[in-house]
């Protein structure tokens, strides 16, 4: 599906979002030691949840705005 992340953020579907990012999260767990990995996973999920509103409100330029910005 195209722009899937965008759809999930707009629908605030945290579960699906975490599922998409599962491999990245699993990889980042290696930053900490064995015993703390579950905690870290929780913390990352929480961080993403906290940021959902902010993520929804991000404004991006449209096609011709982008071209204008890039010229300047």
């Amino acid at each position: 599906m195209e722009n899937e992340i965008l759809h999930q953020v707009e629908n605030k579907d945290l579960e699906r979002l975490l599922e998409i990012f599962r491999p990245a999260i699993k990889k980042s767990l290696h930053h900490t030691r064995m015993q703390e990995r579950e905690d870290l996973e929780q913390e990352i999920s929480m961080k993403i949840l906290e940021k959902l509103n902010y993520l929804q409100d991000i404004k991006t330029p449209d096609f011709f705005e982008f071209i204008e910005y890039s010229i300047d």
């Binding site: 722009n3 965008l6 900490t32 870290l40 940021k51 096609f63 071209i67 890039s70």
Partner: protein, 198 residues
């Protein structure tokens, strides 16, 4: 095949069209069609469509980048905080040992009284077997194929959080041997897991 208008557009904004975000946007056939329609006809509807398709694509890219960075840096930050915590809060024997369990009780005096370093002995007495921590019976049986040394190394690393350097000192081996044995053990277990489809 590009039309003259498209070619002109690409020539006029050559630098912009070379940017990864543009290339990525035009990679999908759907976006490519929207783009051609808008550039060739220049009517209001198709330009609006192009604008909104690009806006969505751009936002999607930004979200991916933002979330990936959040994941990466919160992991690093978490570990840093944890290390700091353990550095500042070393376990002090005798202070937190106010339990009723007399057997495990030992105070600072006991530790200090011996000329010999008893830290490791104490540690050895309080340790458990690594198979106590594993729930899967098939995994336990496949662990029997490991040598005692390998089991011991796994135990020290995964249960007691001891690093290679310290293990090397305890076992009187080189760090490389420890590292090799650690990985060999993991590889053996991995193969056993695949074989028995755990």
């Amino acid at each position: 095949m590009k039309t003259i208008r498209e070619k002109e557009f690409f020539r006029k904004y050559a630098n912009i069209m070379k940017q990864p975000i543009m290339k990525g946007f035009l990679k999908s056939n759907e976006n490519q069609n929207i783009f051609s329609r808008a550039i060739n006809s220049m009517d209001k509807d198709s330009i609006t469509q192009l604008n909104s398709a690009f806006r969505q694509y751009y936002k999607n890219v930004i979200l991916i980048s933002y979330i990936s960075k959040t994941i990466h840096f919160s992991a690093i930050d978490f570990d840093k905080r944890l290390r700091n915590y353990y550095k500042k809060n070393l376990p002090i024997p005798g202070v937190a040992e106010e339990s009723n369990n007399q057997e495990e009780h030992f105070s600072m005096d006991v530790l200090m009284s011996s000329i010999e370093d008893t830290t490791f002995n104490n540690f050895q007495n309080s340790q458990h077997n690594i198979s106590d921590y594993i729930g899967n019976p098939e995994l336990i049986s496949s662990m029997k194929s490991l040598s005692n040394k390998q089991l011991y190394i796994l135990e020290l690393i995964y249960i007691h959080n001891i690093n290679n350097k310290q293990i090397a000192k305890v076992l009187n081996e080189s760090e490389q041997t420890i590292s090799y044995n650690h990985h060999a053990a993991l590889e053996k277990l991995r193969k056993a897991c695949i074989k028995s489809k755990i």
